[in-house]
Symmetry: C2
Subunit: 650 residues, 2 copies
């Protein structure tokens, strides 16, 4: 409260964006506009002015920008976010008696009411605004005070230059400042636009032999040509030998079976070592630099758990839970046991030492060139730990991206995003119908999680072959790919099986049969097919079209057919407009009429829109608000249209 | 944060009820249940326990009550509010390893897995829980540690007594306490159930002469017999003589015209005086005590504004805004002028003196017996002033009720309720259609304003003869009355013109023609008619049926006909159930089927419900979920059913 609180009549409420009353920062990316809004009102009918006050963290002075009344006591203001720093903002508002006076005198003049006294009041306001230092204002005050010049005064008051003057000079008294300063964490624009490809490096050789980092380097041209810019490898560390899993998740392994890369650590080293069969640290660093030269970041898997023979188990038994017989508690979800995995005991007495060690693992890989971490099962480690670790890392390395692989309950996923994860896996993997896709997208884009949860859409992962892809043909793989790549600016695929439409599950489960998690696969890395062509086209369109480089700009178009979904993404200046139409039925042709959103696109009554299908290269012209579309999935399950609006539309 | 924050893995979010993050208290009334809810979760699958911690303000120790998981990480707990004080509450949660262990061992036993080690772990938990002081727990621990008694141990673990024991003894480690302590302001149950009648005391004589408090006393039996328990009189203070308004809001008055009672103050006194023509202070106090003897509270109008000849204007010119010519600024809404009213200047230098004086006015009337204030246009005085004044008054006089007469924008109305008004006028006055009535009621009852905004429904006021009543017949007056009296537990009417269905407006406006605001009216106070009969029946039902004494328990019943609206109110124990069905069309008969809410009423497949129409005395029996209703408005526009559920239904 200010010292004048008794005279400060303006109330400010519901300042947005904010997360949990300011407990967590709201997130944006460099180049985005920040739309600040607040409910602002006072008693009576006096005119209110409101400013957003904002600054970069560490700056002393606030920058002010005036807010605009949008009706129903809501005020807004948009601020350009240029730098990758934390911004602070709050809202200040006050009653502007000069503006109130101006509104009143204009109404009285229009109603032919004598305004002699009002002009003298105006003179007083002008003198107060001038403070003795503005000759223009003073000379108008002198005019208003001259009773003989009332005609001239009225002509001045009603001039447009005077209206400009009133708006230019706010008269401040008894300002109300919102008590909280909210933080906006502006992250790199990279956090909003990434295209992920996942492969197991041990399957990177074409010969069936255990692959190496050198083999992965040979695959980079292929990954680059398909348009991916993040290559994510499952854990690259030594794999536990004790209780090693066999093929198809068998609890015993035969000699020579490679085990799960998520069972980290053996006598060959732990989280700071690389698996000898993949190569050396030097090989891994070479992979990072060769990839970088092609515009590809190598994402490391951060899986904070240990195999029974991980060095930590001997060196730091205090970080694990001991059972009454002195054995160490393995992971379990009763009655299931996971005897190849020892979870850390985050409640142990030396939790600080454990936290520091895990941070040092992250820093170790950053120092070796890693910029992106895909974090395995973050929801099985304490949320306060992630909050601390990500904050600590971002203090020194603000560009590092953490993707939360948390397929769990909604509030837990939200919480991980709030405390700092830059990207999050989502329920897209299971959203199939038109209604649920639209509802989910609208929740992500227009719900409160917009301020902290940045989605990354995956049609499949090594852990998930969803039911709707099982035993299905290429069409659904294509349409799910198209949805992921065009709805979300961040998306990825577990590539090799997706390219060849591997649809073979463990019966009754959403898991791959003969999962690569437990064995080395042999792929034909030279293969190209319809799927690889479409991947290439989609990723090229994403690179060339800024409209596809945001998730927040999606607008669903009305379309009656429940099998067809249509949505537009465009840049704020409408220089780039993409319309996607997808047939969600992989088996049958569907047709319908899609409505162009006239207000969004600035279309008038005459419509003349050229459409270029970026997949087929076909051109269309639409001259109606509602336009016919037909999709035969066996030809192509989707349209990806670039829209060119003829100027006469505007 | 606690000192163990690193090991405290539980996250608590979204604690409800709260208003603006705890900036304002949430309101309840004595006897209500407080339903506390929160989102509570942690990493992993460990079992969570949560308690609500609550106490009365001033108490040192918290009382704990366990919360129940309702799915989707939401936990709830209901607390009985017995006292008219402020309660504090917060939420604490932690991981209960004993419960997690119990869940695991049961699953393992069921899967025939050896649990030797698990029993030893259980023994350790039991010993920790006992802390050396609970022989029962220790003896079970001894049993579990005895390897020879594993069969007996398993039989013990799987017994229902052991399940009870696990739930009885929470094992606490590393609790997370929500950082905010929220306030619940428990107000008197009177704030939730009042029945208001408004009349101008100057029209209380039957002769056409200026009425007096003595005349009002004579009307008390009539008001009591109609079932009202609040009698609200417009301002009773001396009326300004300078710039006095004439009939129909004329800017000039003829000699003998009484003026508007809201133009307060003259040489006869100000806000602490009574209008001589109404009588003396002694007469007013007699009215208060005579009314109280009949169970009626006299509500005073608190209109903080002055006539030009109010004593304050001379004694405290600093409380008013001076214009350049030395005159005092009258109220205006340009180009309209209200020259009979001087508003206070709440931005004046002596705002503290002004605040204190206005508080002293309120206290003066409290000391003279007033318990309820209807506050005139609170939205034209600063919201911080009301927050201060009501808080100050309630510290000493917690029973005083303030009704906010703010017919203004929604956020301003909300804010006044947040800062302390106990009741508020509402938009009911203009909600006519079925859809908008249901939407508005659901907003009031299920929206966030439920925690602070207590509605009071008025079909008319001296300022408002809404368009839908203008030139209309008695039927719509009856149905609007029935809606107000049965939807909201607080309601009122500006009685004399409502009883005789005065439907004569100033053309094109929602104002009464020949408004009583500017003249003395002559009423036949002995009159009874269909309307007074129905008022009496409705108010009797409200007094006799607890179901009608809350606004928060309304449940709308499905009914297809858009002209018929049906809703049930019942007590939590179902001992009192009222079903209201209203025909919203005052001209035509309508019929349709109303659905009984089976889950709410605990109805099974066999339905046998007796209905007694409290208006007509008719009895019906319903044996179906959907039941035929027909309403001929010229007979009666609504049903008011008391429901008796035959026990075989349950």
């Amino acid at each position: 409260m200010t010292k004048n609180q008794g005279q400060s009549r303006v109330i400010i409420e519901n300042v947005q964006p904010q997360v949990d009353g300011g407990l967590y920062p709201a997130k944006r990316t460099v180049g985005e506009m920040l739309e600040v809004s607040a409910d602002i009102f006072a008693d009576g009918h006096d005119h209110i002015r409101a400013d957003v006050l904002y600054k970069q963290e560490g700056e002393k002075e606030w920058t002010r920008k005036g807010m605009t009344h949008r009706g129903n006591d809501t005020y807004t203001c948009a601020i350009q976010l240029d730098k990758q720093v934390n911004y602070l903002f709050t809202v200040e508002a006050w009653i502007d008696h000069f503006e109130t006076w101006y509104d009143g005198i204009i109404k009285k003049i229009n109603a032919n009411i004598d305004v002699t006294l009002e002009l003298r009041e105006g003179a007083n306001y002008l003198k107060e605004l001038s403070g003795g230092s503005n000759k223009d204002l003073e000379s108008i005050a002198t005019l208003f005070e001259d009773k003989k010049k009332s005609k001239e005064s009225i002509s001045k008051v009603t001039s447009s230059s005077f209206s400009d003057l009133v708006h230019k000079y706010p008269l401040r008294h008894f300002e109300t400042r919102y008590p909280t300063e909210f933080v906006i964490k502006v992250e790199s624009s990279r956090t909003l636009f990434t295209t992920w490809y996942e492969l197991f490096p041990r399957s990177a050789s074409s010969t069936g032999k255990h692959g190496t980092f050198q083999d992965v380097i040979k695959l980079l041209p292929r990954i680059e040509s398909m348009g991916f810019d993040v290559l994510y490898l499952p854990p690259i560390h030594p794999i536990g030998k004790v209780n090693r899993k066999g093929g198809n998740n068998s609890t015993t392994s035969k000699p020579g079976e490679p085990g799960s890369p998520w069972a980290i650590g053996s006598d060959e080293g732990g989280h700071k070592a690389v698996h000898p069969e993949l190569g050396t640290m030097a090989d891994y660093k070479k992979l990072i630099s060769e990839a970088k030269a092609r515009g590809i970041d190598i994402a490391l898997d951060l899986a904070f758990q240990c195999a029974p023979d991980h060095p930590y188990v001997k060196e730091h038994p205090e970080w694990f839970r001991q059972r009454p017989d002195g054995s160490i508690q393995y992971a379990e979800n009763p009655p299931k046991k996971y005897q190849d995995i020892y979870p850390f005991d985050f409640e142990c007495k030396d939790w600080k030492g454990l936290w520091e060690e895990l941070k040092s693992v992250t820093l170790f890989w950053i120092e070796n060139g890693v910029t992106i971490f895909r974090v395995d099962n973050p929801h099985t480690k304490p949320i306060p730990f992630w909050e601390w670790m990500i904050t600590e890392i971002h203090k020194v390395h603000p560009d590092i991206i953490f993707l939360a692989e948390a397929f769990t309950r909604p509030k837990v996923m939200s919480s991980l995003a709030k405390v700092g994860f830059n990207q999050s896996y989502t329920y897209f993997t299971w959203r199939v119908g038109k209604g649920e896709l639209i509802e989910y997208m609208n929740e992500l884009v227009h719900g409160s999680s917009r301020n902290y949860f940045r989605p990354n859409f995956w049609p499949n992962t090594p852990d998930i072959l969803p039911f709707h892809l099982q035993h299905q043909s290429e069409n659904i793989f294509i349409l799910r790919l198209a949805l992921a790549a065009t709805m979300s600016s961040n998306y990825g695929i577990y590539g090799p099986p997706y390219e060849m439409c591997d649809n073979d599950p463990v019966p009754g489960r959403e898991e791959y049969n003969n999962s690569e998690k437990y064995e080395v696969k042999k792929y034909d890395w030279k293969r190209t097919n319809r799927m690889t062509d479409i991947i290439t086209i989609l990723n090229k369109a994403r690179k060339e079209h800024r409209a596809l480089q945001s998730t927040w700009n999606i607008h669903f178009c009305a379309m009656e057919n429940p099998n067809l979904i249509a949505y537009i993404k465009c840049t704020p200046d409408l220089s780039d407009i993409i319309l996607t139409v997808v047939n969600l039925d992989p088996h049958n042709k569907h047709q319908g009429y899609v409505q162009l959103p006239k207000a969004l696109l600035g279309l008038g009554d005459f419509i003349n829109v050229k459409l270029n299908d970026l997949v087929t290269g076909e051109w269309f012209t639409w001259t109606q608000e509602w336009n016919y579309v037909e999709l035969e999935p066996n030809r192509m399950p989707f349209h990806l249209f670039e829209l060119k609006i003829h100027e006469s539309n505007m």
